[in-house]
Amino acid sequence: MDAGSGIGMLENNNEEQLIQLQHIGKHYRLADKTLHILGDVCLRIAHGESCAILGSSGSGKSTLLNVLGLLDLPDTGNYHLNGIDVAQASPDQLAALRNQLIGFVFQSFNLLPRLSALDNVALPLTYRGIAPRQAREQAHAMLVRVGLGERSEHRPASLSGGQRQRVAIARALVGKPALILADEPTGNLDASTAQEIMALLIELNREQGVTLIVVTHDPLIANRLARRVEVHQGLLREAGAA
């Protein structure tokens, strides 16, 4: 049961939409009050698109991104990712989908402090059963791609914020995912480093056709993406250029 290698299987559908959300609802129960964070969210994103998610603080952007990234399951509605009904998937299958379809970039980088940059980048590959040597070779190639070929043996603690986020991007990309989900990827970086990181993400989207979804507060960043949607009072609406 372990043996299947999934990427091939994932691509053999004729669905042109990568993401299809229908009437997604998500609420939290606090004490005896119910907080409706997402009420009725519908969203379609095609392969290769780039999209910014905007909205005020606490509006539910991260909640939406977590649903998109299979880190959280919606309470109501349907979510099809690459034609697969997420509600039908077992925990192991969700793990495999995260591993093979999705790459995450977090605001706080979330690198494992005890592993070198190289081992951090190789980690998703080891969860795919790729032999360590091969995984490290591919990881190194990806570090070179984000301009950190020289730093592969460094621990995250000895890297700057921008460098850490580059490592995180390399880790998100090493498995050749169809989708990059970034939650305020430049939130912890200074303006010029933020520009570089965004330039890198957009370049990957343009040149490699990776679908890119970025949660951001920054209209300048949002404007660099092809499409903008805004979370507002539990609903999602298309937004023009800010």
């Binding site: 372990d2 999934g6 977590n66 880190l71 793990a95 495999a96 979330n110 969860y127 059963g129």
Partner: protein, 404 residues
């Protein structure tokens, strides 16, 4: 719509182990306390199995050397006969009155220097009936045993180590040689085979010079019978034979000082009793420390899991399955206990060796001791590591990631 689901296979065993060892170093001092319990537990189990194994081997050795049909009666000091003179015993009469006894011999003990070609050896001298060789299973290596016809002769049979001590490489002591005991010359007619020193017999045959009982007066003017060594018809009759002999002897000895009966079975039981008490003690210690150590491991691992919630979340986001997370922490728990198990095994072997030395047994490594001791300890680690590992694997990715 295609519903085909991808499945990925996890990281290799070597990779998991490497990561586990790496993170164990980070646990550092906190794991030491947990380790202490594990070490003690493993140590007790290994020592226990070893001591048990050695004790069993030792009792087998006793049976083999002596046979379980041998018995020894210890007479009161300076036994007097009913006639008021020092006790004299006739082997034939005694034998007739004790049907369960196959052979028997009174034993007189004396210590004197034995001199051979100017070399002096410290000899334990036993005066006995020729039947002693049969009763105590003493085997001749060269020459012959003492016989009925030697009663009046100054003949001797010598134990292997004593003969060795009196020999030189170019001048070995051989049957036919003359030995001097005080002012008397004794002819050595036979040399005994080397044997394990019996725990039962009142002498160590290897260091003894055996002479006919009648000759004892030559070197000791007032020889006294100290023991009677006998052999029962069979191992089953050993108690019966002992009783018969004891009663018969008691009737012949003036006064009511007791005649003490010792037989191989008794010694074995004493030894087993002593070992049993000790093994129970060790078993209890082992169980208690293993449980203590296990709980310690569980604690360390629970703390470890809660400190690394965020890491768990990241791993889940990168595609780790529940079982990958479970294995990550399970391997760490097992690696932690294995370190303790190995340390404990070394200590346990040392303990087993020490006990064997104290008891005067031969030490050898009991075959099951290491695998069973280490195995059971590692199982304890696995058992107590299971709960934290499963708790870690049940974390939902969002929850784990939210942890700051």
């Amino acid at each position: 719509m295609s519903l085909s689901m991808p499945l990925s296979s996890g990281p290799s065993a070597a990779q998991i182990l490497l990561e586990a060892l790496n993170s164990l170093r980070m646990l550092g001092r906190r794991s030491l306390l947990a380790l202490l319990g594990i070490v003690m537990g493993s140590c007790s189990v290994v020592a226990l199995l070893n001591i048990g194994g050695n004790a069993a081997a030792q009792s087998i050795a006793i049976f083999r050397n002596l046979g379980s049909d041998t018995l020894v009666l210890q007479l009161p000091p300076q036994p007097t006969g009913l006639d008021g003179l020092p006790l004299r015993l006739s082997v034939e009469t005694l034998g007739r009155q004790t049907p369960a006894v196959a052979s028997l011999s009174p034993v007189m003990t004396y210590g004197a220097a034995a001199i051979f070609n100017g070399r002096v050896g410290n000899a334990n001298i036993i005066g006995a009936d020729p039947a002693l060789f049969e009763a105590a299973r003493l085997n001749i290596a060269s020459g012959r045993s003492l016989s009925e016809f030697d009663r009046k002769e100054a003949y001797a049979v010598i134990g292997a180590s004593l003969a060795q001590a009196l020999s030189l490489p170019d001048d070995p002591l051989q049957p036919g040689d003359q030995l001097r005991l005080q002012s008397y010359q004794f002819r050595v007619v036979g040399i005994l085979q080397e044997g394990a020193p019996g725990m039962l017999l009142p002498f160590n045959a290897n260091e003894t010079l055996f002479i006919p009982m009648e000759g004892m007066t030559r070197i000791n003017p007032v020889p006294q019978i100290s023991h009677v060594v006998a052999r029962a018809n069979s191992a089953e009759e050993v108690i019966q034979a002992g009783e018969q002999l004891r009663q018969t002897l008691a009737q012949r000895i003036a006064g009511d000082a007791p005649v003490t009966l010792i037989f191989a079975q008794q010694i074995l039981e004493g030894m087993q009793q002593q070992t049993r008490t000790f093994t129970y003690l060790l078993a209890a210690l082992g169980v208690v420390s293993l449980i203590g150590g296990g709980v310690g491991v569980m604690n360390v691992m629970l703390m470890n899991v809660s400190e690394r919630r965020r890491e768990i979340g990241v791993r889940l986001a990168l595609g780790a399955r529940r079982r990958d997370i479970r294995n990550l922490f399970l391997v760490e728990a097992v690696a932690l206990t294995s370190v303790g198990a190995l340390l404990g095994a070394v200590l346990g072997m040392a303990g087993g060796w020490g006990y064997a030395q104290l008891s005067g047994w031969a030490f050898f490594l009991a075959p099951g001791a290491l695998p069973l001791g280490i195995g059971s300890t590692v199982l304890v680690g696995l058992f107590f590591g299971l709960h934290p590992a499963i708790a870690a694997s049940r974390l939902q990715p969002v929850e784990a990631l939210r942890d700051e």
